[in-house]
Structures are given as structure tokens and as C-alpha cells.
Amino acid sequence: MNNLIVLPLIIPIITGVILVFLRHSIMLQRVISTITMITVSIMSFILLEIVESEGIIRLDFSGWLPPFGILFVADSFAMLLVLTASIVTTICLLYAFSTIGKQIETMFFYPFILFLIAGVNGSFLTGDIFNLFVCFEVMLLSSYVLVAIGGKKVQLRESLKYVLINVVASWMFLVALAFLYGTVKTLNMAHIAQRVAEVGQEPLLTTVAVLFLLVFSLKAGLLLFFWLPGSYSVPPAAVQALFAALLTKVGIYALIRTFTLMFPLNQDITHTLIGVMAGITIIAGCMGALAGRDVYTIGTYNVIIGVGFILIGLAVGTEAAITGAIYYLIHDIVAKALLFLIIGMMVYLTGESVIKNMSGLIRNYPLFGWIYFIVLLALTGVPPLSGFVGKILIGQGAIEAESYILLAIGFASSIIVLYSLLRIFLASFFGETTISFEDRKPIPKGAYGSFIFLAVTIVFIGVGAESLSVYVKDAVNTLMNPSVYIDAILKG
């Protein structure tokens, strides 16, 4: 049964490779990739159920007991993210079918997407810190290709920067790993946690922890987000959506895991640092969003704001805050995916990205416009949509922990989010229509399907927050009590 845990990683990889052989049968590629992602989503859901009811399960690869071998660990936190990521990927695929174009489809687009999600899922599931590095690389390499896929001038330019920054980030990861191994002499995350706890997270270990903080911050776009606006603006919309939804989240996941499980003991330094970084990130993100004159800039800086907001939850660190962070994480994955799909569609429909050059879209595409409006409200945190529960729980946590500055920054950022997204709505969706209803480009059905599905998900996450709470609470329980995780790995 434990072998199930590897499926969210291995199924996409194997089908991805098989699709390489089916390069020119596009229909087949579409069908297979969809089936794959649906299967993975279903598997993830089943696993989530199992984990929630029976506790953490782990898979020791090749049967080597921890801490010696590599293992996958499925706790509710990881599984929730795997499930969300898989579902969102499925939807983005659906969107891609009708928008991506034959040329890119025959260039192994679907395999790269599948490898990407494999890397993402692997990162969520792994219980071995070096394996996390490797999973990151699977994800990154795929993302490198996906940023550049299409070969446009700007794409290549931005992807080169993206790759180089990530190469340096990976280098820092290796440095951090070297120091980690040099000190605690083990790679298993639970074992690291145990050893770190044994010596009470001495100063040197805190230094190492801080190094990891930087590494994951680079991935998450926490403070070190310079790479993000450029590289998220250039790939095809479906890829943008996946990036905005998933890539930073992996970094956030790693941060949460690192500082709740492995290095939770010197919060004066680590969590303060995270808090400061999150605060600055939000402010910088807000300034970027305010400054934005085009959909991409506004969208990407909103990604940055989201990152900062979630990490307030981690910085605050109380149970409520972590719960909120998880809710918000799930919300942000879905909502950002939808936001970027919509942005991509706007650019496709108008051939413009500057908001003032588009106008009156809602007249020709009413449903499309209203879906944007929903995502706008959700990202602002308006109840009863998806962003709401996470936001109030993080707020509660911040109040409990008396982190009023973070509280103020976090909640004030909602206003900027609203303001910036509203600007798109008013300038591009509202206003005089320049194209008559008859002359408009139609929105492909598949794209509509993905919009609707994601919008419904957004509503569901908000209205049906209770149905997720059992999983989220289980996830939080593990995060707040590292011993649950450690015992599941090292005892038995």
C-alpha cells in the first residue's frame, strides 16, 4: 500500500517519457496526459483520505529503513498540496489544449509539464533533504524549458536570467546541504530534526538553518523575488498559470517544512527573519502591483504579495496562523492559476497586455469577465471565497502572537491587491467595447471549461472550507508537533 505514495511522481514521469515516443500524435498526447493527471489527482485524493484516517505513511525506497535510505513521507500537509497541485495541473492542461498551438505541442510540451508536476509532487513528498534538492532540479529543469518554450526574444532573454538565478540558488542549496551534512551527518529530515533537537539547535545549526531559509526564499520568491516578474511574464499562459500556482509554493512548502520540522527551536532568529522578509516582500510586492500598468506586472507582483502573506503565517507560527497559511496556500494555488489563465486569455483576445489598451471585454465575454471578478474578490480575501478562511486564520494567529506589524502589513496588502486587480477590471473589462460582438475572437471551449472549474473550486474552498478542515487540521497537527512526524519515520 505504501507504494502508492510514489505514484504522484512516477506516473507523470513514465507517461511523460512515453509521450516522447508519441511526439506527432497530438491527440493521443492530450488524452494520455489528461488521463495521467486525472489519475494522479484521484490517487492523491485517496492517499489524502488514507493519511488523514490512518496517520502518516511512508515509503522506504528499496526497503532501506530510515535514516539510511531515501523515503517518501505522506502527511496531510504534503498530500493536500499534492492534490491541489495535481488538480490545478489537470486544469491547466485542459486550457493548454485549446491555446498552446501545434508547434509547441510537438516539441514535448506535455512531457515537460508532466515532468514539472512530477518534480513538484516529489518535492512535497520527499522525506530526504538531498532528495528534495533532486526533486527541485526535476522541477526546475522542466521549468527552464517551459519558460523558453516558444523561442521568442523576450522569452529567451527572461528565461536565461531565470535559469542563471536558479543555478545560483541550486548552488546555495548545495552549500547548505554540505554544511548540514557536515554538522548533523544525516540527510533524513526526521533524523535531522531529531539530531537538531538533541543539541537544542545550537548557534551553528541556526546558521545552517538560515542558509536554508535563503535557499528556499529564492525559490519561494520571499524577499529574493527579482527573478519572478520577468520570468513569469513570458511563457505561454498555461505555463504561466502553472508557475504562478506551483513553483513558489514549493519553496513555501519547503520553508514551512524546514522551520516547523527541522529547525523549529531558534524562532527568535529564524522566525523573526522570516517575518521581516515576509513584511518587506509584501511591501515590495504592493509597490510593484501599484506601479503595474500591464496585466503581467500586476499579476506577477500579486504572486509576490501572496508569498509574503502566506509566510506571515509561518513567521507568526501559532497553530491558527499555520492553519491559515495552509488554507491560504491552497487558495493561492487555485486562484493564481485562474488569474494567470485569465490574463493569458486577455492577451490572446486583445493582443495587448497594457490594461489601458484593452477595454470593455465584459461586453463580449460576460462570463469571462465575471470569473475574473470572482478571482479578484477571492484574492482580496472577500468572503465567502477561497482566500477568506486563510486570511482570517493568519490574522488570528498574528493577533495571538502579537505580531501587529505583520498583521497590519498583511491586511493592508489586501487593499493593494484589490486596488491593483480592480484596475484591470475597470480598465479592461469595463468601459467602451472596441470590438463588436460579431468580430470578437471566440474563447475556446476548453479554456472556458478550465475557467469555470477553477472558479467553482475557488467558491468551494471558501464556502466548503469545513470539508477541508479535517485534512488541514491533521496537517497542522503534524506541523505543530514535529514528534508526530519524527516518530512516524524513526519509530516503527
Binding site: 539510511f68 529543469l141 544525516t186 539530531r195 551553528l204 538560515v210 509597490m287 490574522g395 469545513e466 487540521k473
Partner: protein, 802 residues
């Protein structure tokens, strides 16, 4: 499901049905169908009146997110009932009015859908006992208001107004939410009633005052209190029925509702008293003062609404003193202010609703709302004139209209409060009646303006050309019902007082034992007291000022245009946009080199900072192995080769030197007993070098770095610091020997995994998963290279993105 829930849900359900079914209905029918909703709800709600008047309340509990204590608790008491009656009652009239007002060419389904959405949300606000649910509906009212203001979104002004109102009200809402969360953290409940019953515990806590301020921010923004009122005049871009409904009768009163609801919680605080009273009075004055200078009738009404809301707000502030004083024979008298607030709330809805509808008719029939272009309409629009006259006089506080009664009570309350000597009222409290009185004079003036400039005087010729005539009967029904109420309430005020206002007083003063004593007998005549003299003064001075308007109007120009709140708002927004833009562009300049500098600087500051801050540095050579001379030479070879790369100007040389480094590293691997590594490193290094050479076909040769000395030095410093950081941490780590490595386990490789090469068994068995994924990485890279090379953007593929 109970009736209360059904009441909230019905508008939403119908709203949801409209987009689905509107195509099947004749255009005209939508309005009539929609009208049934508020009408039936109103009737349903009236059935509650007797029971609530008896002191009954209705509460129901529905689970929403019980895990986080977020549940839907409906609570229907007197206070809620007043508002819900207003919402449904005025709602019915407004919809009836809209049916005739709006052209069939408009997208009516949107209009009614938003309107119903608003109605439901508003009912939700007043029916919610749960703070977060209240907040949910609260934001929903902002959203629906936004949509209604932007109903004619092809107009720039509509969009701007919508944005402004949404930004301000949602911001206030967010502040309020934080306040709610603080209340929750103090009381551990989201239920307003439970908070009230735990008030003793809560009021001592440090978050109490912040929560108070934040919640007031929500109320003030929503109710357009100074200085947040600036959104309301701009909201007049909405169709007039919307203005009548949302922006005078209902939504803007949500803030009033909130203050009334929270009076039992915060009422005892001085800051509450002064904030609510002070801001209310300031708003009252500022609104009336500014209304006078308006030339657009709707704008004038907007400022008048601001002013009247300030009045009600200040009354609630005055009433809160009773909570501070606690229940006693003497304190009861101060509750009259709150009573007056509720009374005026209703009165305002009646006359202001009527006035808005009047303006709508004028606009509809004459085609303009500009008083400079209006005049002498009395003979053309006699019925409309009647509405205007009655409405205005009531607003001005003249008998025999309901406004007179509440205005008198307002004066009485302001006078009464000056006798207290708490909260420093004894020193500056005298200002309260003064401001109230001055504001009332201006109120009187603008009421005269409404009637005088529109209906009296000479009729303008260009209006006559259009051959205007009186509005259709359908448009007149609603305003006439409202002015009927204006008169009716004047005649039977105590009916209202007993059945509607009295039970609501229980909501504001729940700790007071009997609502009976909180309900004064309202009478039109109460002798020549101070209040009446004040009123007489208002009339005399008001008429004087009206006729001398041209003389003193220039004082409005004393305030420079730049300093008005509106332009201040615009300046703040554009300033923050510009600052953000210039700041963001400065560091997000697309220059990779800069990004790297930032990243490295953060790296050094954070890592080295924490390292030294925590005193982690320790270094000894105890754990070190020996160094042979050849190793030392190798080290120097590596250093020289590396440093030489910095200075070389030939790409080949730099790649060759990198090759030297690679080979040297491989040799280090040999020295350090790593045969597999040495082999791999050798091959990989060679292949990498070959790849460099192959790619050089397409790449330019190195050019000397054209960077300034300053940049070079700073880059040098950063690099050295990065290297130093890695070194010092590395040295400390070398020295750290507290744990046994897990690797000893792998030394049993032959028995465990059947291999003698430990490294290989790790790669192929113990950590085979890494290897498997690494193979995938390699494969992705290979495929990626292929894709990047083969997939080239077509020439015609313009770079539309970015």
C-alpha cells in the same frame, strides 16, 4: 430552515435566477418579478413587529465552518428589524420606481441582479450575530454597490466612482475585520451577543481600544463619515434609484447599524464617545457646508446625505454616554440621543428617498440636474414639486414633517450632554450644540436651494424647447408613498416609537432592564424651550443666508482646490503609484547583475550576520588531516587558474582554465579517495568543455568588461565577502563533531546490497531514487536542449507579450 434565513436567501436565489431566466421574460416583467421579492419580504417582516415589540428575539444557528468557529447565526431583534424593514420597504419602492425610471434598452437583468444581491447582503448584515458572517455580508454590500455604481461602466466617471467607493469601503471593511479578529482573540467568540455578555472580561484587555478604533473605521468608511465621505458624492454616478436606495437609505446606514450594535460593547469608552460624536458632528457640519456649494442636485443630495449620516452618528455617540454611566434614573435621559438617532434614521430614509426620486424625475424629464440650468419648474412638474417641497422641509427640520421631530430631539440631546462633566465634556462639550446648530443652518440653506433653484424663479428657455411634462404616474407612486410617510410619522410618531424604535433600544442598551423607560413620548409641541429657539434661529439665519448667497459663497474658494479631501485622495494615490513605480523600476531594472548583487548581499548579511550574532565561529586544526607538499602545489595551481580566469580576455582561455580547475578537482577526488567521483568528474569536465567549444560557434568572444571602477570594486567586495562567508561557516562546520555519520551503515554494502563499491551501491540501491530522478533531470535537459534549438519563433510572430 427558518424564516429569517429564508429572508436572507430569497434575494440571492432570485438574483441567481435572473441571469439564467431573464431571456425568457419580457423586458418589462423583470422589474415586476423582482419587486415581489422585497415586497413579500417586507410583508413577512411586518408580521414580526408585534412579537418583537413584546421583546421577543429570534435567533437561529447554522453550521458553516464549525472547525474554526465560523458559523451562521441569525439574530433578529428590534434593531435588526428597523433596518430590515427599511431595506425591504425602501427596496420595494425603489424597484417600483426603477421599473418606470430605467429605459428598456438598459441591461436590466444586471441591474436587478445587483440590486437583489445588495438587498440580500444588507439583510445578511443586519441579521448576523456572527462577526465573520456579518463581515462577509458587509463586503458583499460593498461589492454590489460597486457594481451598481459602475452600472454605466462605459462612462469614465462611473468607473472612477465605483473604484473609489470600493477601495474606501473595502479598506474600512478590512480594518473592521481586524477589529473583529481582535475581539475574537479577547473573547474567544465571534458572537456579538456573547461578546456583550462577556464585556467585563474584554474591556480590560490591551487590544480593546485598537479593536474599537478598527471597527469604527469600518463603520465610518461605510457610512461616509468625514474624511471618508469622499466616495459618496462620486457614487452618484449610479442610476438614481441606486442612489436613493443604497447611498441614502440603506447601505450607508450599515455603519450606523454597526455603531448601534457595538455601542453595548464599546459604549463606555471615552474614545468611542468622542470619536463617534466628534466625527459625526464634523461630518454633519462638513456635509451641510459643502452641500450648499453644489450645483448638481444629486451631488447636493449626496453631501446632504453625508451630513445627515453625521447627525445620526453623533446622536449615537451622545447616546453611548448612557452605557458609560450605567443604568440609573439619571442616565436614562441620555439614551434619548440613541432613540433620536434611530428615529432620524427612519425619517431620513423617507424624505431623502423621496428627494432622490424627485431628482431622478427632474433628470429624467428635463435632462439635467444642474441647478444653474434649472428653475421655474413648479408649473411643469407640480407633483414633483410637492415631493421636493415636503422632502426638503422635512430635511430642514420644519413642521409638520417628521424631520422636525427628530431634529428637535437632536438639539435636545446636544444640549443635555453639556451638563455632564465626564470625558472632558465640561470643557469642550459646549461645542457640540454649537456645531449642531451651525450645521442645521446650512442644512436649511441647501434645502431652500433644492426647492428654490429648481422650482421657483424663471424657467430657462432651452428647457422649454424640450417640452417637458410631468413624470408618469408610476414614477410618482414611490415618492408619494414616502412623503406620505413623512407626514404620517409626524402625526403618529409614537406608533413608530412604540412598535419599532422601542424594541430596537433594547439592542443598543441590552443591560438596561426595561425598554419602556428608554422610549420617550414624542410630541411635536414641547413648549418654548431651547431647542425650539434654536430652530427658530436656524430658520431666520437660514433664510437670510439663502438670499445673501451670492455675497458669501466666495468663502468656498478660500480652500484651494489642491487641499480638498478629494484631491488629497487623488494625490495620495497618484503619489504612491509614482513612488512605487520609480522605486520598483529602480531595483527591478531587469539587470541580472544587479539581481545577483542583491541576492549575494542578502546572503552575506543574513548568513554572516546570524553566524556572528550567534557567536558560532570556532576553528581548530585538531580534526584536520595532514597536508602534503604536492597538495599544496595543487591548491596553488587551482587558485592561480581560478584567479587567471578573472583576468583573461579570451573565452577559450577561460574555458581551458575552467578545464584545468575541473581536472584539478578530479585529482583532488583522487587524493581524497573518491575513484567514482574522479572518473565522473573527468568525463563530465571534458564533455562540458567540449560543449562550451561547440556553443562558441554561436557566441561572441569576450569583450573587456566596460564597467566603472566603482562597480568593479563593489563586485569584488561582494565576491570576497561571499567567499569569506562560505569559508568561515565551513571552518566552523569542519570543527563541529557531535554526531556519528549515517554512512557507516553503507559499509556493510556487500551484505546488504550485494555490491563491493560502496558509492555505487549507494547510487544504485540505497539512494537509487536520487539516481533515478537524476536520470530524469538529464533527460529533461537533453530534450530541453533539443526543444530550445528546434523550436524557433516564426519571423511574423511579433513579441506581443511584454
Amino acid at each position: 430552515m427558518t424564516f429569517e434565513l429564508a429572508i436572507i436567501l430569497l434575494p440571492f436565489i432570485v438574483a441567481a435566477c435572473i441571469p439564467i431566466f431573464y431571456r425568457r421574460l419580457p423586458k418589462k416583467a423583470i422589474g415586476w418579478v423582482v419587486l415581489m421579492v422585497p415586497l413579500s419580504l417586507f410583508l413577512l417582516l411586518t408580521t414580526y413587529i408585534p412579537r418583537i415589540a413584546k421583546g421577543q428575539t429570534f435567533s437561529n444557528y447554522y453550521e458553516w465552518i464549525p472547525s474554526f468557529n465560523i458559523n451562521f447565526t441569525t439574530y433578529l431583534d428590534g434593531l435588526s428589524l428597523i433596518f430590515s424593514l427599511l431595506i425591504t420597504g425602501v427596496g420595494s419602492l425603489v424597484i417600483l420606481y426603477s421599473i418606470f425610471y430605467l429605459s428598456k434598452k438598459e441591461s436590466l437583468h444586471h441591474f436587478y441582479c445587483y440590486l437583489l444581491l445588495f438587498m440580500g447582503a444588507m439583510l445578511g448584515v443586519v441579521f448576523s450575530d456572527h462577526l465573520l458572517v456579518l463581515y462577509t455580508f458587509w463586503e458583499l454590500t460593498s461589492v454590489s454597490s460597486f457594481l451598481l455604481i459602475a452600472f454605466w461602466h462605459h462612462r469614465k466617471a462611473s468607473r472612477a466612482g465605483a473604484r473609489k467607493s470600493m477601495t474606501i469601503t473595502v479598506s474600512g471593511g478590512i480594518a473592521m475585520l481586524v477589529g473583529f479578529l481582535m475581539l475574537y482573540s479577547m473573547s474567544e467568540t465571534f458572537s456579538i451577543r456573547e461578546i456583550i455578555s462577556n464585556i467585563d472580561v474584554i474591556s480590560e484587555q490591551s487590544l480593546f481600544i485598537p479593536a474599537l478604533v478598527l471597527i469604527l473605521l469600518g463603520a465610518f468608511t461605510k457610512s461616509a463619515q468625514f474624511p471618508f465621505h469622499i466616495w459618496l458624492p462620486d457614487a452618484m454616478e449610479a442610476p438614481t434609484p441606486v442612489s436613493a436606495y443604497l447611498h441614502s437609505a440603506t447601505m450607508v446606514k450599515a455603519g450606523i447599524y454597526l455603531v448601534a450594535r457595538f455601542t453595548p460593547i464599546f459604549g463606555g469608552e471615552m474614545i468611542w464617545f468622542w470619536a463617534v460624536t466628534g466625527v459625526g458632528l464634523l461630518t454633519l457640519f462638513w456635509g451641510s457646508f459643502n452641500a450648499v456649494k453644489q450645483v448638481d442636485l444629486k451631488a447636493l443630495l449626496a453631501f446632504s446625505t453625508v451630513s445627515q449620516l453625521g447627525l445620526i452618528m453623533s446622536l449615537l455617540g451622545l447616546g453611548s454616554i448612557a452605557v458609560y454611566l450605567g443604568y440609573s434614573k439619571d442616565s436614562i435621559i441620555y439614551t434619548q440621543a440613541a432613540f433620536a438617532a434611530l428615529f432620524h434614521l427612519i425619517n431620513h430614509s423617507t424624505f431623502k428617498g423621496a428627494l432622490f426620486m424627485m431628482v431622478g424625475i427632474v433628470d429624467h424629464e428635463i435632462g439635467t440636474r444642474d441647478i444653474r440650468r434649472l428653475g421655474g419648474l413648479m408649473p411643469i412638474l407640480p407633483f414633483t414639486f410637492t415631493v421636493a417641497l415636503i422632502g426638503s422641509l422635512s430635511m430642514a427640520g420644519m413642521p409638520p414633517f417628521n424631520g422636525f421631530l427628530s431634529k428637535e430631539m437632536f438639539f435636545a440631546a446636544t444640549l443635555k450632554i453639556t451638563q455632564l462633566d465626564v470625558f472632558s465634556i465640561d470643557t469642550i462639550g459646549v461645542l457640540i450644540p454649537v456645531v449642531a446648530w451651525v450645521a442645521s443652518i446650512f442644512t436649511f440653506v441647501y434645502c431652500l436651494i433644492i426647492v428654490g433653484k429648481t422650482f421657483f424663479g424663471k424657467i430657462k428657455p432651452d428647457i422649454l424647447e424640450k417640452n417637458p411634462h410631468e413624470a408618469p404616474i408610476g414614477m410618482l407612486i414611490s415618492p408619494f408613498i414616502l412623503i406620505g410617510l413623512v407626514v404620517g410619522i409626524f402625526i403618529f410618531p409614537n406608533l413608530l416609537g412604540h412598535y419599532i424604535l422601542q424594541p430596537a433600544m433594547a439592542g443598543i442598551y441590552p443591560t438596561f432592564p426595561s425598554t419602556e423607560e428608554l422610549t420617550p413620548h414624542i410630541s411635536a409641541w414641547h413648549g418654548f424651550n431651547m431647542e425650539l429657539w434654536m430652530t427658530i434661529g436656524v430658520v431666520i439665519l437660514g433664510i437670510t443666508l439663502y438670499f445673501l448667497l451670492k455675497r458669501w459663497k466666495p468663502i468656498y474658494r478660500w480652500i484651494p482646490q489642491r487641499l480638498t479631501l478629494n484631491s488629497l485622495y487623488e494625490t495620495v494615490i497618484s503619489f504612491s503609484e509614482n513612488v512605487s513605480e520609480s522605486l520598483t523600476k529602480r531595483y527591478m531594472n531587469g539587470n541580472l547583475t544587479h539581481y545577483f548583487s542583491y541576492i549575494y548581499m542578502v546572503f552575506v548579511i543574513v548568513v554572516a550576520g546570524v553566524f556572528f550574532l550567534t557567536n558560532s565561529f570556532e576553528w581548530s586544526l585538531v580534526n584536520n588531516s595532514s597536508v602534503e607538499s604536492f597538495e599544496l602545489i595543487l591548491v596553488f595551481v587551482v587558485i592561480f587558474a581560478a584567479v587567471a580566469i578573472l583576468f583573461t580576455t579570451s573565452r577559450i582561455a577561460s574555458v581551458l582554465l575552467n578545464g584545468v580547475l575541473g581536472y584539478s578537482v578530479a585529482f583532488f577526488f583522487v587524493i581524497f579517495r573518491a575513484p567514482d567521483l574522479a572518473l565522473t568528474q573527468l568525463v563530465v569536465e571534458s564533455v562540458t568543455t567540449a560543449l562550451f567549444l561547440i556553443c562558441f560557434k554561436f557566441l561572441p568572444d569576450l569583450t573587456p568588461e566596460r564597467t566603472s571602477k566603482r562597480v568593479k570594486v563593489s563586485n569584488g567586495v561582494i565576491s570576497i565577502l561571499v567567499g569569506a562567508t562560505v569559508t568561515i561557516v565551513g571552518l566552523a562546520v569542519v570543527n563541529y563533531e557531535k554526531f556519528e555519520t549515517i554512512s557507516t551503515y553503507f559499509e556493510d554494502a556487500y551484505n546488504l546490497a550485494g555490491g563491493k563499491n560502496i558509492v555505487n551501491t549507494i547510487l544504485g540501491d540505497f539512494r537509487a531514487f536520487d539516481t533515478m530522478l537524476e536520470v530524469v533531470v538529464l533527460f529533461i535537459a537533453g530534450l530541453g536542449v533539443y526543444t530550445i534549438i528546434k523550436l524557433k519563433a516564426k519571423k511574423g510572430d511579433a513579441d506581443i507579450e511584454n
